[in-house]
C-alpha cells in the first residue's frame, strides 16, 4: 500500500518533468538538427565534386555518386523539415517535382541560351526550376544534354546550382543554430513559435505525417493513380537518374527516425507493434523492388507489388495520422497535399 503510493508520486514527479518535452528535445538534437547538418555537408561535397569534375580532376561517375548522396540527404530531410526550410520559398529551391511539362529542360536551356555562362547572381535570381537538384539531375542524366561532351556549356550552371544549394542549406542551418533559433524553440517553452512542448511535438508529427503522405504521392503518381491507372513514368521523382526508390527509402528513414523517438510516449502496445510492423513492411517492399520505379510502373508484371507497397504506405499513414494522433491527443491539421 505504502509502496504503491510512493511509486505513484515518483512517477508523477517525473511526469511533471514532462516526457513530451524530453522527446521533443531528443528529436531536435538527435534527429532534426543532424539531418539539416548532413544536408549541408552533402551540398558542400556537391560543390567540391562539381568543381573537380569541371576541372578534369574527377570522373563523371564520381560526380553522379555525389549527386545521389545529396539527393538522399535531401530525401531524408523531407519528413523532418519543420521550421525554416518549410518557410518562404526555400524547399521549392531544392527540388521541382512533379514536372509534368518538362519545365526543367525548357527553363534550363532557355537560361543557357540567354546567359551561356550564368553568374552566381543569375542562378540565385533564377526560377526555382533551374536552381535545384532537379535541374542538376537533368544536366547530368538527360540523354539530350550529353554532359560529358558539353562540359563548357553546363559546368558554370552545375557549379552555380551546387553553390546555391550550399548557401541555402547554410542559411537554414544558421536559422536553426542561432540564439532563439529553431533549435531553442523546440527546447524551451513558451516561445514565439510554440506555446508548449505539446505544440512543438504536434508540429513535428504533422510534418512527418505529411512526409509519409508525400511518399504515397511520389509512388502513386507514376503508378497512374491520378490517371485512371495509366502509368506516368515521367512523373516519377528522379526518373532521369533512376533513383526514385532510393529517395523513397531515404525519406522513409527520416520518418521512421521520428517514430523511434515518439514510440516511448505511446502506452498502447498494440498500436506500437502495428506501427513498427508497418514501417518494416514498407521498407522491405521498397528494398525488394527489382528495377527503377519508372521502369516497374511500365511493366504489367510489377503492378501487384507496387499496389501492395502503396497499400502498406496507406496503412502506415492511417496508423500515424489517425490512431497515433488520437492516442497522443494531437490535431493533425491540413497539409499541402489536401485538395489534390
Amino acid at each position: 500500500m505504502r509502496f504503491a503510493i510512493v511509486l505513484v508520486s515518483v512517477l508523477a514527479l517525473s511526469a511533471c518533468s514532462n516526457p513530451r518535452e524530453e522527446v521533443t528535445t531528443r528529436l531536435a538534437n538527435q534527429v532534426l538538427l543532424p539531418a539539416h547538418e548532413q544536408w549541408l555537408a552533402s551540398n558542400i561535397a556537391l560543390v567540391k565534386s562539381s568543381r573537380a569534375w569541371c576541372a578534369g580532376e574527377q570522373e563523371l561517375a564520381d560526380l553522379k555518386q555525389t549527386f545521389h548522396a545529396t539527393q538522399a540527404a535531401w530525401s531524408h530531410l523531407q519528413p523532418l523539415m519543420v521550421g525554416p526550410l518549410s518557410e518562404g520559398n526555400r524547399s521549392w529551391q531544392v527540388q521541382f517535382w512533379p514536372d509534368k511539362r518538362n519545365m526543367v529542360a525548357r527553363q534550363t536551356e532557355a537560361l543557357l541560351e540567354q546567359s551561356p555562362e550564368p553568374t552566381q547572381q543569375q542562378v540565385d535570381e533564377a526560377s526555382v526550376v533551374v536552381q535545384g537538384l532537379t535541374a542538376f539531375e537533368y544536366v547530368l542524366f538527360d540523354e539530350n544534354t550529353d554532359v560529358a561532351a558539353n562540359q563548357d556549356r553546363y559546368c558554370p550552371l552545375l557549379i552555380g546550382i551546387a553553390r546555391h544549394q550550399q548557401a541555402l542549406s547554410q542559411e537554414v542551418l544558421d536559422l536553426w543554430q542561432q540564439s532563439g533559433g529553431m533549435l531553442d524553440q523546440l527546447i524551451s517553452f513558451p516561445n514565439d513559435r510554440y506555446a508548449s512542448a505539446d505544440e512543438a511535438l504536434g508540429g513535428i508529427l504533422r510534418v512527418q505525417i505529411t512526409g509519409v503522405d508525400t511518399l504515397k504521392k511520389k509512388l502513386g503518381t507514376p503508378m497512374g493513380r491520378l490517371n485512371s491507372g495509366v502509368p506516368q513514368p515521367y512523373q516519377a521523382e528522379a526518373w532521369r537518374s533512376r533513383h526514385s526508390t532510393e529517395n523513397l527509402l531515404a525519406s522513409l528513414g527520416g520518418a521512421q527516425a521520428v517514430w523511434e523517438r515518439v514510440r516511448s510516449l505511446v502506452g498502447d502496445a498494440k498500436l506500437v507493434s502495428q506501427i513498427d510492423a508497418a514501417y518494416k513492411s514498407v521498407s522491405d517492399k521498397l528494398e525488394a523492388l527489382p528495377a527503377p520505379l519508372m521502369e516497374i510502373v511500365q511493366d504489367p508484371a510489377g503492378k501487384a507489388s507496387l499496389q501492395a507497397l502503396y497499400q502498406d504506405l496507406d496503412t502506415l499513414e492511417n496508423l500515424q495520422q489517425v490512431d497515433l494522433a488520437q492516442h497522443l491527443g494531437i490535431q493533425i491539421g491540413f497539409n499541402a497535399n489536401d485538395g489534390d
Binding site: 500500500m1 504503491a4 503510493i5 511509486l7 505513484v8 512517477l11 508523477a12 511526469a15 511533471c16 514532462n18 516526457p19 513530451r20 520559398n89 521549392w92 521541382f96 509534368k100 511539362r101 518538362n102 519545365m103 525548357r106 527553363q107 535570381e125 533564377a126 526560377s127 526555382v128 526550376v129 506555446a195 512542448a197 505539446d198 505544440e199 497512374g224 491520378l226 490517371n227 485512371s228 491507372g229 495509366v230 506516368q232 513514368p233 515521367y234 512523373q235 498494440k270 498500436l271 492511417n318 495520422q321 489517425v322 490512431d323 494522433a325 488520437q326 491527443g329 494531437i330 490535431q331 493533425i332 491539421g333 491540413f334 497539409n335 499541402a336 497535399n337 489536401d338 485538395g339 489534390d340
Partner: protein, 429 residues
Amino acid sequence: MLSRVSTGGLLLASLLFSACSDDTATSEADGSPAYDDAQARAVINHYADLALAGYSDALAQAQVLRDSIDTLLAEPSEANLAAARQAWRDARVPYMQTEVFRFVNTVVDEWEGQVNAWPLDEGLIDYVDDSYQAVMGNPGARANIIASESLKIGEQQLDLTELNADLLAGLNELGGSEANVATGYHAIEFLLWGQDLNGTGPGAGERPATDFATGDNATGGHNQRRRDYLKVVTDLLIDDLEAMVAQWQPEQDNYRAELEADSVENGLRKMLFGMGSLSLGELAGERMKVALAAHSPEDEHDCFSDNTHFSHFYNGKGIENVYLGEYQRVNGETLSGPSLSDLVAASDPQADKALKAHFDASEAALQALVDSAEKGVYFDQLIAPGNADGAATVNAAINALVEQTTSIEKAALVLEIQALNPDTANHSF
C-alpha cells in the same frame, strides 16, 4: 492490492494529462459539449442551402453563357465574341464560390472533373502554336479533335465523326492523362480565347471571331466542327450543373439527404475540411505557389482568358461564405443563416474573431490581385521572372491563405474536431 495499483494508475494518468497538456481545449476538461447539437444541425442544413444557391446561380449564369454563344454562332462578330467572353467571366463568379464544396462531398468530387478540370493540354481540342508544351508522355496532347474525324490512341481507334456530349465526356482523361480535358469551363475558355501566346508578358488569348465563321472570311479551319464542339460542351456544362443543383435540393432522395442524415460531427468536419483544403493545398498551393515559383503561366488557373484574379478572389469568398453562413447571390440578395461562426463564437469568441480577421486579411490580399489586373497587370505578369513587386503581391495572398488555414484548424479544435480529413476520420483500430 491489485485494485490499489490500478487506482494509482488512473491517478497517474490524470496527472500526466494535466502536466503535459496545459493548452488543450478547455471544453474537454469541463465536460460540456463544444456545441449545441440542434444548432449544429441547422448549420449543416444551411450549408446545404448555400450549396443549392451557389450551384443554382452557376446554372443560371451558364444558361446566359449559352445564349451568348448561340448569338456568337449565329453571327460570329468580334462584338459577339466579346459578349460571350464576358458571359463566361460572369459565369465563373458563382461557380468559383462553389469550389469550397469540393474535396469532401464525394458527389461533387466525382462530378468536378468533367466541369472544371485544369490544367489542360489544349492541343487535344484544337489547333495550337508550335511553341506549345504538353505533358510528357501524353498520347492525346496533339490529337486536335476539331480537325480529326478519327483518332488512334495505342491500340484503340476512336470514331470522332459526330461530336456529341457522350463522345467528348468520354475523351476526358483520354489515354489516362489527366491533362486531356475535353469538356467543362476551361474547354469553353480555350474555344473562346485560344492560347495565350504572350507567356508572362501582357495579353491573353486572341482567337479571332472568324474561327467560328463558315463563309469566305473563315479562319482556323474545320469551323463547322469548332462550332459544334463549342455548342456541345456548353450544353453539357448546363446538364452537369442541373444535375448538381438536383443533388442539393431539400427533401429529395439525393446527396443532401445523405449529408443531413450523417452525424453532426461529420457534417461539421466536411465543412471545415473543404475550407482548409481549398485554402491551403489548392488555392495557395496548386493555383498560386506552383505558378509563381516556376514562373509558369501554363500553371495559371484561367490561362487562356487571364481571368485568374477573379477566380482566386471568388474561391476565397467561397471559403468565407461557408464559415459565415452567407452568400451574396447573383441577383444581389444575401442568403444568410446559422453558421460555423455562431458555433465557434459560442464557445470561444476569440477564436471566432481571429478567424474573421484572417478572412478580412486574405480577402484584401486577393483583392490586390484584382486591383493589379484592373490596372493592366494580370496574374501571368505578376509571376514573371524578375517581377519582385508581382511576386510580393502573389506571396502576400499565399501567406494570408496559409495563416487563415491555421486559424481554420483552431476553429476546428474549438468544435473538438481533431481529425479533419473525412476520408480517414472514421478509421479505427
